[in-house]
């Protein structure tokens, strides 16, 4: 048996732990409050088809609280709910949890009697019981950023096969169809990483004179800055860098560029994602002389687009789905590539930049056809009931 003091310590510990976890997540939910307060005019479009303004929407995000990609999703959802002028109340549950805990989040939203639930799923199959209950209650459900296997839920996410293809094609063309590429992948086993690998190999098969190092499986950066830094520094110091003519990265791009610069080596063409830091490097010929690269969009505005899609479904509008997707009722977002070689590409890169955006947030704050807010509204991170 343990002493009373130890027990008191344990209770204190338990209490402090729950408090600390709550406070830490609570603090990270508001990154945009520091942004310039250029509050855009609220509810801008009342003059269209006069849709009802009484929808109640629930939003569940049960993972990656504090991660720029997820924070941007939630903020764009709030911005779209506000800008659409059709949402009277947006209830956001933005709290890390397991699939079992996300089930409770969705059931709470059902009990609240919302008209639609938009969520970023923690698992492809585990949420299905609650989604069936939502359908019975007449609630529209939209899964963003990844798909769920529930046949009545709409899915909306980035086409990651296409993402890899666009970048790889640009890179291989830039290299004149011949040479060696260092292949830096994402998180081993993640669905997005699997899809990107599929796209990369498809394009590679069309370029017989392109060789991949260390092999066609590439290396896993795990989307982790520390692991990426180790990988690229080992590659640079071992002299292998001199044998390649291009680098394909699955994000983590600006870290690789900075490492090459620090090693004082000439740049080879590089592909990355549309993260603020990388786009800034591509548009800075003084700081990064000779840097040639391309950024592929991987928008986090899927949160806002999910709200937009839910509104379309509630209003009975037709939605164009993609029959090539693994699930029915899927909207695949098409990525776009922009390089810093042509004036046209540079202009596109410049157009993506957003003032006041957190450097850890992806650019590409809007999705055509699904979002109506201004970038400033997304940065402001305010919903209709905030």
């Amino acid at each position: 048996m343990i002493k009373g003091s130890t027990r008191r310590l344990l209770v204190g510990l338990a209490a402090v732990a729950v408090l600390a976890s709550a406070c830490s997540t609570g603090a990270t939910t508001a990154p945009a409050t520091a942004a310039p307060a250029t509050a855009a005019p609220a509810t801008a479009a009342p003059a269209t088809v006069a849709p009802p303004t009484t929808y109640k929407i629930g939003y569940s995000n049960a993972g990656g609280v504090g991660n720029g990609f997820r924070e941007e999703q939630v903020c764009t959802a709030k911005a779209e709910a506000l800008a659409s002028g059709q949402v009277s109340e947006l209830t956001v549950i933005h709290q890390n949890g397991t699939a079992a805990e996300q089930l409770q989040q969705i059931r709470d939203l059902i009990a609240k009697g919302v008209d639609a639930i938009v969520f970023n799923p923690n698992d492809a199959a585990a949420l299905n019981p609650a989604l069936t209950e939502a359908k019975t209650a007449g609630i529209v459900t939209v899964s963003v950023d990844a798909y769920v296997t529930d046949p009545d839920t709409y899915n909306l996410y980035n086409n990651q096969v296409e993402y890899a293809k666009l970048g790889a094609k640009w890179l291989f063309e830039q290299m004149g169809g011949t040479g060696t590429v260092y292949y830096m992948r994402g998180y081993a086993g993640h669905p997005a990483d699997n899809d990107r690998h599929k796209g990369f190999l498809e394009v590679l098969a069309q370029y017989p004179n392109i060789k991949v190092v260390p092999n066609n499986d590439g290396v896993a950066t795990q989307w982790d800055p520390a692991i990426t830094t180790t990988l690229i520094n080992d590659f640079l110091s071992s002299g292998q860098y001199e044998t390649i003519q291009g680098i394909w990265t699955s994000g983590m791009d600006s870290i690789v560029v900075d490492a090459i610069k620090a090693a004082n080596k000439p740049f080879v063409p590089i592909v990355g994602a549309d993260l603020g830091a990388f786009v800034k490097q591509l548009l800075d010929p003084v700081g990064y002389p000779g840097l040639v690269g391309a950024a592929v969009t991987n928008t986090a505005a899927v949160g806002g687009a999910g709200v937009g899609l839910a509104l379309k479904l509630l209003n009975g509008e037709t939605v164009t789905t993609d029959p090539t997707a693994s699930q029915p009722n899927t909207v695949l977002l098409k990525p776009v590539v922009a390089e810093n070689v042509t004036d046209q590409g540079k202009a596109l890169l410049k157009s993506w930049q957003v003032d006041g955006l957190d450097p850890n947030w992806p650019l590409g704050l809007q999705i055509e056809g699904y979002t109506t807010y201004t970038p400033a509204q997304a940065v402001a991170c305010k919903g209709p009931n905030d």
Binding site: A17, S21, A22, T98, Q104, A111, K112, D123, A125
Partner: protein
């Protein structure tokens, strides 16, 4: 002190007096129940549409934590603590999900029985280590929580597996009346039957005895070591029930446990189980879990940040322990 003692006393007393004594002894649980009822009324007030869907959702949501809280209550009553409950839940959850994937319904019955036995074994290992090594139980079970968590990751690297349909149907939806959730019946049956049997057995008596005063229990002829191992094994069994309830409600196995361990400690404290051991039951912690879950739901209804509910939980926890200690001092108990 125990139910047996209680029945002897009440046999000769006036019915009203017996009722009063019963109420006094269960004052904390009854108070919690009243608070839960008030919270339900408050919920109905802020969300007039709260009804069947809400009650069904509440019942299935609280099932894993309610079972975990009962598991923790048993070991705390015996004077110990188990910080590996969350990891045991994860391990039993993934073992069940990985074995059931693509197999027949009949095979799933074997899996369920096997997983429950596995829970007993995991708990018995915890208990044996506590008794044999004489290392404080808080250290042993914390260490074992990493061992069981590692085993869970060996079974399944990422969330996956499956569940038999009958297991999913066992906890989903109503039975008969739409207001009666199957999950609640499952909880009442599991806890009611096992707890009832334990309370009436010699083991139940020794459970409270070693929790109240180990030396006195030893001098009265209780085998302290055996009773302890038994308590931990029973905790492991309930952790396995909780793990299976995760498999049933999500249909998959997840090797990463949620925050069930610390939440179970919180529920036990709120539920009137003395952390010093020897006092409390299974009913209080379950009502505490219901209150904590409904508080979260109300936060959603009120459009408040759900993380506030977690903060509120921590503050209530500290408050309850402080008030409880104050009462103990007043009564002159150590």
């Amino acid at each position: 002190m125990t139910a047996t003692a209680g029945t002897v006393e009440t046999a000769g007393a006036q019915p009203t007096e017996a009722l009063a004594r019963w109420a006094r002894r269960n004052a904390w649980s009854l108070g919690l129940l009243a608070f839960f009822a008030a919270l339900l009324v408050f919920t109905k007030f802020i969300q007039p549409s709260y009804g069947v869907t809400g009650v069904q959702g509440l019942a299935i949501s609280v099932l894993p934590l309610a079972l975990a809280a009962v598991a923790q209550a048993i070991v705390v009553i015996s004077g110990g603590i188990d910080l590996s409950i969350g990891s045991m839940m994860a391990l039993t959850n993934v073992v069940a999900a990985s074995l059931m994937l693509g197999r027949s319904d009949e095979f799933a019955v074997v899996v369920v029985v096997g997983v429950l036995l596995l829970g007993l074994v995991l708990g018995a290992v915890n208990g044996a280590l506590v008794v044999l090594t004489r290392v404080p139980d808080i250290v042993v079970t914390l260490a074992m929580s990493f061992v069981w968590a590692g085993c869970a990751l060996l079974v399944l690297k990422t969330p996956g597996g499956g569940s038999a349909q009958w297991l999913k149907d066992l906890v989903l939806g109503p039975l008969g009346n739409e207001w009666i959730p199957k999950a609640a019946i499952v909880l009442v049956l599991i806890v009611g039957l096992i707890w009832w049997a334990v309370r009436r057995s010699r083991f139940g008596l020794s459970l409270y005895a070693i929790g109240s005063n180990q030396l006195a229990a030893f001098r009265s002829g209780v085998s302290v070591g055996r009773a302890k191992v038994f308590a931990y094994a029973l905790t492991g069994l309930f952790a396995a029930f909780a793990g299976l309830s995760l498999t049933a409600s999500t249909g998959i196995g997840n090797p990463l446990s949620g925050s069930y361990t610390l939440q179970s400690v919180a529920a036990v404290v709120l539920g009137g189980v003395s952390l010093a051991g020897g006092r409390g039951g299974a009913f209080g912690p379950i009502v505490a879990v219901l209150i904590l879950a409904l508080l979260r739901t109300d936060m959603t209804f009120l459009n408040l940040n759900p993380n506030l509910a977690t903060s509120a939980q921590g503050i209530i926890l500290i408050g309850v322990v402080m008030v409880g200690t104050l009462f103990q001092i007043r009564r002159g108990r150590p």
